[in-house]
Symmetry: C2
Subunit: 309 residues, 2 copies
């Protein structure tokens, strides 16, 4: 049993942020390699119109493949009810709906106000309940730590919004540092408030490494009791508002940090590095991040059985 859950978002957050489109066959190989490394939750795609995101045109096929991988929670991002219907039809286990805490970001990202998005969460939650499939619904509060469009985001509003999402029927609500503005003190403060407010419905931490604080922020969240962490292999993906800057927390570095601390992730570090192969094959022009893959494992370091308790 792992002590925490690393939720890989590269096939969704990563692939939708790069201009190239990864061929479907490479995607399937990559997702299989991620699963083989021990990852047990993968956000494999988003269900959005293909004309808006051609990188995700093969979403249903990708889900079909992911569903064959034993023990994997297959997750998809859906921005609205229509996407949720498609995702449920494809058979995903978990839906993630992004809800911006920043009013400006909400309009820019999904062309809806925050109130509109709450209505979407409610409609999607109703849909999930009617479908009786046991599909879990996560409302991910994006720009929870600041926004490149409006700057600071009011912390009270973040907590109120997360709470409203749970009231609207979401099973969990986590906090996302969409643009890499968070610092460890803020991370502790907000997750402490989140847990006080919505208890067991408090979701995971989605941190970006734009300003180098990604792992420190994950550490702060861990010390606050958070046990689910989003990350992206090779740090793929990121922030369109900070060109050249690294995006998502790098899965390889994050897993290494926890494993080196003695916290079991269920993920095999060596196999994780191997999983960069199909990613690079499918996106040969894309630079990958990751300090551990560049520097290598410490001499004599042996990972304990990745699946230990």
């Amino acid at each position: 049993m792992a002590a925490l859950l690393i939720s890989e978002v590269g096939p969704r957050d990563g692939l939708q942020s790069v201009s190239a489109t990864m061929p479907t066959a490479d995607k399937l190989r990559w997702i299989s390699a991620l699963h083989d490394a021990g990852l047990r939750e993968i956000e494999v795609c988003s269900f959005v119109p293909a004309r808006r995101l051609p990188q995700m045109a093969d979403a249903a096929e990708v889900v079909r493949h992911a569903l064959t991988l034993p023990g994997l929670t297959v997750m998809a991002l859906v921005p609205n009810l229509r996407g949720a219907r498609d995702a449920l039809a494809a058979g995903v286990h978990k839906l993630s709906v992004p809800v911006s805490a920043s009013a400006a970001h909400s309009l820019a990202n999904v062309r809806m106000t925050r109130e509109d998005m709450l209505a979407q969460v409610r409609a999607i939650a109703d849909l999930c309940r009617e479908a009786r499939t046991g599909v879990r619904l996560e409302a991910a509060i994006s720009t929870a730590f600041g926004c490149t469009l409006q700057g600071a985001v009011d912390e009270d509003e973040v907590i109120r919004l997360a709470s409203a999402c749970i009231a609207a029927g979401a099973d969990e609500s986590g906090l996302s540092d969409t643009v890499g503005y968070a610092n460890p003190a803020q991370v502790r403060r907000l997750f402490r408030r989140l847990r006080a407010e919505i208890g067991v419905h408090a979701g995971g931490a989605h941190m970006h490494n734009t300003r180098g604080l990604g792992l420190a922020n994950c550490l702060a969240a861990y010390e606050e009791g958070v046990r689910t962490f989003d990350a992206s292999l090779g740090g793929l993906g990121g922030c369109p508002h900070a060109p050249g800057a690294s995006g998502n927390v790098v899965t390889e570095d994050l897993v290494f940090m926890f494993e080196a601390m003695g916290v079991a992730t269920g993920v095999d570090v060596a196999k994780l590095i191997t999983a960069r192969g199909p990613l690079m094959a499918g996106l040969p022009a894309e630079p990958l991040h990751g300090m551990l893959p560049a520097a290598g494992l410490p001499r004599g370091w042996r990972q304990p059985d990745p699946a230990r308790a």
Copy 2:
């Protein structure tokens, strides 16, 4: 008053790790810019034979300049008694003697056993006392978190060695992750033991970012009560055993992390980024690290008065 001390080691640790030699005039400009940004402790050089480290041949001249900067603690690394004599003659305020916790690294780095180095610490401490100059002596325990030559380093030995350095007359003893092997759990454990063992003589944290954990390790040390942190502008310097990997914790990113957390460093982030100018001018071929300089400050973020309490 700053809540902690950022000790800039770039002019020593950084410059001695690159093959090019920075012209003296650029060094002086760079050190002035670092001081102007608010840094109040700078390791400006090491006193070693010029044939071994031609980058440090101008050590006395560099110290002479640094001594003119108001409020600055001028620090130099000395590997032995002879270097200490030269450093005292030059007028430095603080000496740092590296003492390897790894037996293999000690021989490779200074061609002395750990016992020989302890004898050097004792001799240098005696020299400082006789000189009656109030010069402070730090014994920096290198490879305290692991070693590229021997792998794991026994934690009991690290603590015993730090304690022996204090008994030999050093004023303080800090812990260095020379090769970037440390993890946050280990950092907390070792600094807690260090403080329990030598109390007020416990020195700072010298972390490397080789595997991306540099800031997380500094955060862990901070939470354990450490208030002195070594860092290097642009992450200059590093580990000769991990080619291509980043070295020292990047001063810009570290200062930003603490300031964003509301912890006053006394350092002005914007001026710190400006201080990269003379560094780049003096070492035009050297790539600099730093996520904050690449991504820029968060929108609307204003640093409080850097010198606030």
